[in-house]
């Protein structure tokens, strides 16, 4: 046992409310590491896909076809007007029943979409619905005349969307996008509800094994999320600075 571990064993002895069991117990330690791993994975995947959903939705919202716009509107309404936790349960328990299964080991039939997969899908759609609105407001802030200039230079709708509107839109909506993505990272804890072994799930497992570790796991949760969110806020800020255009307002 290292000095570091020894220190926390003694701390737990002298102060039973501060049992940092995950610092000296191999099982608990690996639980926490898995939890952090899943939380980060969930965050990265849902951020990525929710931005994709937002971009595709915003693109579809600009469609001339009324039906397409109605679909996007319906999607936004559904995901914004219902709690993300209920959405998660719905996706996993209701839709999960209907997904095909496969058998990797030849014995056990498992659904092709795991609970982790459902969490990624559900949370990406949830945050994506907000991203659609965020991107839409950014797109609307790009003057029509800029779009017409692109059009008159022969850009088609897709080219002008990707080459001209998005780069400007992105600069405008970065702060609100940042807010939404930070909220998304915090919402990943709700994947606990469908037993995704992310940080909250693991912390509760640790606490179940050692009820004296409550303060220690709570503190850990706060610190890990504080750091992840801090990292996102910092990179967003750096990006904003990096994208700043000389002599341009936004």
């Amino acid at each position: 046992m290292t000095g570091f571990e020894q220190f926390f064993v003694e701390l737990a002895d002298t102060h039973p409310k501060w049992n940092f069991v995950y610092f000296y117990q191999e099982v608990e330690r690996s639980r926490i590491i898995t939890g952090i791993y899943y939380t980060i994975g969930l965050s990265i995947l849902t951020i990525f896909f929710s931005v994709i959903v937002g971009l595709v939705g915003a693109w579809m919202q600009g469609s001339k076809n009324k039906f397409t716009r109605m679909i996007v509107q319906g999607f936004i309404q559904f995901f914004r007007n219902t709690p993300p936790f209920v959405q998660l349960l719905f996706f996993y328990f209701a839709l999960g029943q209907f997904t095909p299964t496969h058998s990797p080991d030849g014995w056990l039939e498992v659904p092709i979409i795991s609970n982790f997969g459902w969490a990624v899908i559900s949370l990406s759609l949830f945050a994506g619905s907000y991203n659609v609105e965020i991107f839409r407001s950014g797109i609307e802030a790009v003057p029509v005349s800029t779009r017409e200039a692109a059009e008159s230079l022969g850009y088609n709708r897709f080219q002008s969307f990707t080459k001209i509107i998005l780069p400007l839109c992105f600069r405008i909506c970065l702060p609100s996008l940042n807010n939404n993505l930070i909220n998304l990272v915090k919402t990943t804890t709700q994947a606990f509800g469908i037993a995704v072994p992310e940080l909250l799930y693991q912390c509760i497992s640790v606490y179940n094994d050692y009820s004296t570790s409550m303060n220690a796991v709570m503190l850990l949760m706060f610190i890990v999320f504080f750091l992840i969110v801090g990292l996102i806020a910092w990179s967003s800020h750096a990006l904003e600075k990096n994208l700043k255009i000389p002599g341009y307002g936004v």
Binding site: A150, S152, L153, L168, I245
Partner: protein, 249 residues
């Protein structure tokens, strides 16, 4: 099959009607422009000048009539817009440069991204265009770092980079102060001398007089009167033209 030859009008507008909902903005406009000609469209605010030249570029659609650019009908649902816009360049009153790109990038973007031309070649062309609009040294400035007149000249260069056969200018000096107006007008004059076909909407009567081969006066969606500048300003017959000219000259 397009059988257009240079002896026919490069731009032919026939009985064009255009409405925005209930409001009829163009009520049967007809005129032709020959290759190399410079025409000026003048008229009071709201008379449909901008609408007219936007229709030529298919930025607005028309309800009836015909607009032909090099013999190709613009008022056609199957119109190849890219082909049209390669031929027709447009410059706007508010410059409309892309604010996130430098001057030279603004010029190079469309030929590279839309026409897939070789970036090296395009860059060379962009440099010579910058020279042409007399903005050497401003290649790497962003639009926000340029004056209005400089931005407008980059916008002209940006259109020219597509190597169009016709240039449309919509009140491109209206947002500029008198000193800067001059530098932009010089650029246009150079262009006209090079033989570019130009359609200008303008309020600069002196300039129109000097540069135009033909002047069209529009009011409430029709061409009230037209003629070469020599006679247009002195021998206007219609009372509306007279009134407009008396106010502006």
């Amino acid at each position: 099959m397009n059988t257009w030859t240079e002896k026919e009008p490069i731009l032919s507008i026939k009985d064009v009607h255009k409405s925005f909902g209930e409001l009829e903005v163009l009520k049967g406009v007809t005129f032709d422009v020959m290759k190399g000609e410079v025409i000026c469209i003048i008229g009071p605010s709201g008379s449909g000048k901008s609408t007219l030249i936007r229709c030529v570029n298919a930025l607005n659609d028309i309800q009836s009539g015909s607009i032909k650019v090099e013999g190709v009908e613009v008022n056609d649902p199957k119109l190849d817009k890219l082909a049209l816009r390669r031929k027709v360049g447009m410059v706007f009153q508010q410059y409309n440069l892309f604010p996130h790109k430098t001057a030279i990038q603004n010029i190079m973007m469309a030929p590279i991204q839309v026409l897939n031309q070789d970036p090296k070649e395009v860059e060379e062309r962009a440099h010579s265009l910058i020279k042409k609009v007399r903005l050497e040294g401003k290649e790497n400035s962003f639009p926000g770092e340029l004056s209005g007149g400089q931005q407008q000249r980059i916008a002209i260069a940006r259109s020219l980079a597509m190597e169009p056969n016709i240039m449309l200018f919509d009140e491109i000096t209206a947002a500029l102060d008198p000193e800067t107006v001059k530098e932009v007008l010089v650029t246009i004059k150079d262009l006209a001398q090079d033989g570019m076909t130009c359609c200008l909407v303008t309020h600069e009567m002196g300039f129109a007089k000097e540069i135009a081969d033909h002047i069209y006066f529009t009011d409430r969606g029709i061409i009230v009167e037209h003629g070469p500048p020599k006679t247009f300003f002195t021998e206007a017959k219609d009372p509306r033209t007279k009134e407009f000219l008396s106010q502006i000259l």
